[in-house]
Structure formats: structure tokens, C-alpha cells
Amino acid sequence: MTAHRTGALLVICGLIVEGVSVLWFRPQTFLLMACVSAPLILAGCAITARALLSKKERTLP
């Protein structure tokens, strides 16, 4: 699995959790978003950004 896909997968998981927490709004889901969704999205974005910036990744066929 390429770094792009790993990053995208993490982002998608994070966004799903965030969607659930926004739709089912409770104090508990705020915690869910802060502790689960935000780290997943940020980690996914960081992995993707690193892959996009990497020359090696960019020159792959």
C-alpha cells in the first residue's frame, strides 16, 4: 500500500468518526472527535503531505 493510500485511509476513517460525532452530538462524542478523529485526520494528512512532497513517490510510475 502506498503512502498516499495509507494517508487517505486514515483521513477517511477520521472523517467518518467526525461525521458520527457531529451528527450524534453529545459531550462524549466531543471526546471521541478530539481523541480519535483529530489524530487520525492529522496523521493521514501528514503522511499524504510527506508522500506528495517526496520526489521518490512523485517519480514512481
Binding site: G7, A8, E18, S21, V22, R26, T48, L52
Partner: protein, 212 residues
């Protein structure tokens, strides 16, 4: 920006992103437009969505029903329905002196540049105590109630300065405004939410089906 418009923009960006990623598969990767769309879709858009989610949560957490959704706070929510003109929370709530939808937050927030943020960080502390700490028998504020919470609305109001009670009791309002005398600890407004009398109190305006 309103939510439907933002949602439309996000959906549009998502479609463009999918197109860009498909393009990548067919050799678009490395080209300017494809890379820009990937940056936008896989980095920019998720961060935007995360920020919007936090914003929605922050706004929603100002609501009274959010505060009283935990069982520890239910008595405080009910205390705002006590039929007693001496209780400030009840008077403010029942007479719409504060927005009922955000009654807790209006009186218990920090009024400063980062007041919302510090208030919500304290709220996260509540959550921590709820799940991992020991819930005290008697609730207490983390810090003394600031006069600024009252004065942000009452400062300069004629009803505040010329109040019969404020004048009759010889209260030094200058000390109140500078914070040297507390509104709550000065034997004037020290009843708080009146939880001691909640069991026997007459309640006003409770939602249908919510019995005392």
C-alpha cells in the same frame, strides 16, 4: 458562511478530488492540476472539515441541553425552573434575561479574548473527571465566580446602578466593579442555584412530561 453552502462546496471539492485521484491512476500524477487537487483533497479538505467539526462542537457545547445532558448537571438545569424570585439563575432563565438556549454558558463563561476557549478547556476537565476522576458530592467552581460574568451585561445598566437593593444596603458598587467585593460572596446574592430547596420547591415551566 452557512452550513448548506459550505456542504455544497465540500461536496464539490470531494468530486474534483476523486477526479484528480482517478487522473493520477491514468498518469496524471505529477502534473500541476492533479497535484494541486490531491493537495486540496487529501490535505486541505480534511483539515477544513476537521476545523469545521470543531467549530460545530464548540458552538453546540454552548447549549443548555448539552450542559445538562450529564446526570451531574441535571439538578442545576432543574434549578432554573424553581419558582423563587430570589434565585438569580431562575430569575435570569425564566424572565429571558439570558438566552435560554445558552443560559449556562452565558453566566459561566470567561469573558476575555480567549474566554470561549478557556471555558471549553474547563469543560474538557469536567469530562475527564466524569470518566476518570472522582465526582465530588458537592459541586464547586474551579475558581471564584468572577464579577465580570455579571457586569458584562449589568455594567452601566440603569436598573443595576439605581436598584433599590443596591442603594438601600449601602453596597459600594465601585468595589463590585473593580472585583474587590464579590457579587456572590457579599451576602447579597449568595444563594447560588438553590439546590438545597430543589426537592420541595415549586417548579415553573418544566418541559412536558418532566415531573419534579
Amino acid at each position: 458562511m452557512n452550513t448548506p453552502l459550505l456542504s455544497l462546496i465540500l461536496i464539490g471539492l470531494a468530486i474534483v478530488t476523486v477526479w484528480a485521484i482517478q487522473g493520477q491512476v491514468e498518469g496524471l500524477k505529477g502534473r500541476g492540476v492533479g497535484m494541486a487537487m490531491m493537495w486540496l483533497g487529501l490535505v486541505g479538505l480534511p483539515i477544513l472539515a476537521l476545523a469545521r467539526g470543531f467549530d460545530l462542537h464548540l458552538e453546540g457545547s454552548k447549549r443548555t441541553d448539552f450542559c445538562t445532558s450529564c446526570h451531574e448537571m441535571k439538578a442545576y438545569g432543574r434549578s432554573m425552573h424553581i419558582d423563587d424570585k430570589e434565585l438569580l439563575p431562575a430569575v435570569h432563565f425564566q424572565n429571558r434575561l439570558v438566552d435560554r438556549q445558552t443560559a449556562c454558558f452565558t453566566c459561566h463563561r470567561d469573558y476575555a479574548m480567549f474566554g470561549d476557549l478557556t471555558t471549553k478547556l474547563a469543560g474538557v476537565q469536567h469530562l475527564w473527571v466524569h470518566y476518570f476522576g472522582e465526582i465530588p458530592e458537592e459541586m464547586k467552581l474551579y475558581k471564584p465566580y468572577a464579577n465580570e460574568n455579571c457586569l458584562s451585561c449589568h455594567r452601566g445598566a440603569r436598573s443595576f446602578g439605581e436598584s433599590r437593593h443596591h442603594r438601600k444596603r449601602g453596597v459600594d458598587l465601585a468595589s463590585v466593579t473593580t472585583g474587590t467585593v464579590s457579587c456572590l460572596d457579599s451576602k447579597c446574592h449568595d444563594l447560588g442555584h438553590g439546590l438545597d430547596d430543589l426537592e420541595d420547591a415549586d417548579l415553573w415551566g418544566l418541559p412536558q412530561g418532566d415531573t419534579p
